[in-house]
Structure formats: structure tokens, C-alpha cells
């Protein structure tokens, strides 16, 4: 083969390699976008038909209680809420085996506090969990000031059935402040010092799960607490 032919063949090989690399990257980017878009807009459907009472989701007589100590700014709480809790709701809460109780700690900064107050205001109308999911789906960078009045309003408007005027009136209520104080004391008494921490309790005993656990780990703790 002559030098000219070899150089031409190299150009073809380089062009093919670059084209293949662009294709691989485009595929990865498309799949990543697919993942990024998933999970939003589904909270209405997820909680539809499941009773709520304040920060508790599920039937009052469900044998197992899962208390989730969380902060709306905590990235691992966001991961848990987006990736694991929907499955727990479908498999255990919807079947009346478990009730979930959110315990917002609001210790990471001002954005945590404002987010928790807004979610608690929605709990007055028993729509806490819809707001809870929206806060985690739209979680921003920690203490960046992303939790503005406009941000909270926009989330509230996405919840069907929420009376936004009553919700706004509840934002600065003393009740929210004392509820957060109560959660803080409970967490201290239970030795909870990081988020997310899940306390799974039932007739079979109590188990504390610290960190972003998988569905399988939570499921095993539920089964043990349920006595099975």
C-alpha cells in the first residue's frame, strides 16, 4: 500500500471512530435525559386514594409505622424520596401494611426551614405528601437560596385540590414552628443525628436505618417489624 493510500485509509478510520463516539455519547445523553424527566408529575397518581392525616400517609390502623427523619435540602433524602419511597408506597402503604410519617428536621439552613414550613402548611389540608414529593423533585443546591416565595408558590399551584390562599396563610403560622420544634426534640430523644434516618416500628420490634437505604433494605426492616 502506498503512503497516500495509507493516509487516506487513516482519515476514514478517524472519521468512523469520531462518528461512533458521537453516536455513543448521544445515546448516553438521551438516556440520561429520560432518567432526568422521570418521576416528575407522578405524585398525584402515586398518592391518589391513600388517606393522609397531617404528615402521615396511609391507613391509621396499618401495623407498621415508618418514620422518616429528613431535611428537604438533604441530597440523600431527595434520592430516597425520588427513587425508593414511591415503591414503598405502592407495595406497602397502598396495601395498608405500612403508614409513613415524615419528620422534617430543617437543620441544614434557611432553605430547609422555608421548605418545611411550606410542606407543613400543605399538611393542614392533608396534602403534605404531594408537596413533599414536589420539594424533592425540584431540590436545588444546598443553601443557595433557591427556596424563594415564587418557588414555593409554583409548587403549590401544581397540587390539585390545594386551597392556595389557605396554604399561604399557613406559611407563617406558629403551629409550623412548634411542630418543627417537636420533631427536633423527638429526634434528639431517639438519637437521630443525621438525615435520612428511618425508624421502622411494629409488633415485631423497631429498627433504625441510617442513610439512603435501598428498597430491599427497607422492605426487610418492614417485614421484621411486621412480625413476618
Amino acid at each position: 500500500m502506498t503512503r497516500t493510500n495509507a493516509a487516506g485509509s487513516r482519515r476514514v478510520m478517524i472519521a468512523l471512530t469520531v462518528a461512533a463516539a458521537v453516536l455513543v455519547t448521544a445515546l448516553l445523553v438521551a438516556l440520561s435525559q429520560l432518567e432526568g424527566g422521570a418521576g416528575t408529575g407522578s405524585s398525584e397518581e402515586l398518592y391518589s386514594g391513600i388517606p393522609q392525616n397531617g404528615m402521615t400517609l396511609g391507613e391509621a390502623d396499618a401495623p407498621v409505622m415508618v418514620s422518616i427523619y429528613e431535611d428537604f435540602q438533604c441530597p440523600y433524602c431527595g434520592q430516597l424520596s425520588r427513587e425508593v419511597l414511591p415503591k414503598v408506597v405502592q407495595e406497602y402503604v397502598r396495601t395498608s401494611e405500612v403508614k409513613l410519617e415524615s419528620r422534617p428536621m430543617a437543620f441544614l439552613g434557611e432553605d430547609s426551614l422555608e421548605a418545611a414550613r411550606a410542606a407543613l402548611a400543605a399538611s393542614e389540608q392533608d396534602l403534605y405528601w404531594q408537596y413533599h414529593s414536589l420539594l424533592f423533585e425540584n431540590q436545588g443546591a444546598q443553601n443557595s437560596g433557591y427556596v424563594t416565595g415564587k418557588f414555593l408558590d409554583e409548587l403549590a399551584q401544581q397540587i390539585s385540590g390545594l386551597n392556595t390562599i389557605a396554604w399561604k396563610n399557613g406559611l407563617d403560622s406558629d403551629a409550623a414552628g412548634s411542630e418543627l420544634e417537636k420533631v427536633r426534640s423527638e429526634a434528639e430523644a431517639s438519637g437521630v443525628n443525621s438525615t435520612p434516618t428511618l425508624v421502622v416500628s411494629g409488633p415485631g420490634g423497631e429498627k433504625k436505618l441510617v442513610g439512603a437505604k435501598t428498597f430491599e433494605e427497607i422492605s426487610a426492616a418492614i417485614d421484621t417489624a411486621g412480625g413476618s
Binding site: T17, A21, V22, L28, V29, S32, E35, Y76, A141
Partner: protein, 147 residues
Amino acid sequence: MASLAESATERGKLRTALAGLAVAGISISAYLAWVHFAGIDPLCVAGSDGCDTVQSSQYASVLSVPVSVLGLAGYTGLLFASVLKGEAGAYLVLLLALSGTLFSTYLTYLEIFVIEAICQWCVASAAVITAALVCATLRVVGLPTHR
């Protein structure tokens, strides 16, 4: 003959550099994969807030596979390709390094403009894969043009 021998030595050096960069990439992505599965905070200079935010964002996985695991697979492929001699090895390395650099550029764009947080480990990985692309390009350019 002298220039052929020099060129072969040069290609050997590039293969060694590529293997070293692949090992660095494997170390970074293995660490990030480990903290992901252990559910712990990655160690970062000046706190781990940025790393936490990026690692737990909804863009941290592709079809439920953590990006760190994709990185681990990519860098392992790069390591094997970098020790392969000849044209096949050179083009395979170029393909892996270019794909990695392009995807890394997209992830850096997400960090800056969408997630609005920077993970130092991801920046380190971006630097490693960019250096690998430079070496891969030099290796292809240095391939003999006659047989």
C-alpha cells in the same frame, strides 16, 4: 530505521501513559461507586455539599445505572485497549477516550448550569479523560503511514 524505532518507543510511552490515566480513572469511579452503594458522603475539599448534590441528583444515573459505574466500565475498557498494540488498539482507545470526554463535557454542563453544584471527583475524572484523549490522538497520529 532509527526513526521507526523512535516512533515505536514513543507509542510505547503513550500506551503506558494511557494505562496510567485509565488506572487513575478506575480509582476515581470505583470510589464514587462505593460511596453511592454505601450511602455515605464522598470526601471533598471544603466540605462535601457539591459532591453530595451531584451524586444524588436525578442525573447521577442512566437507566438506574450510576454514572460512576458507567465510568468504571469505561475506564476498565480504556485500560485493556491501552495495552493492545497496533491500529486496532489505537482506534479503540480513541473511541473510548473521545466518547468519555464528550459525555464528561455534558456532565460538566449539567453540574454548572442545571444542578448548580460542582463535584471535585467529577472534575478530576474530566481532567483524566481529557488527558487520555490527548494521548489517544497522539497515538493515532503517530501510527506508521506505510507498510
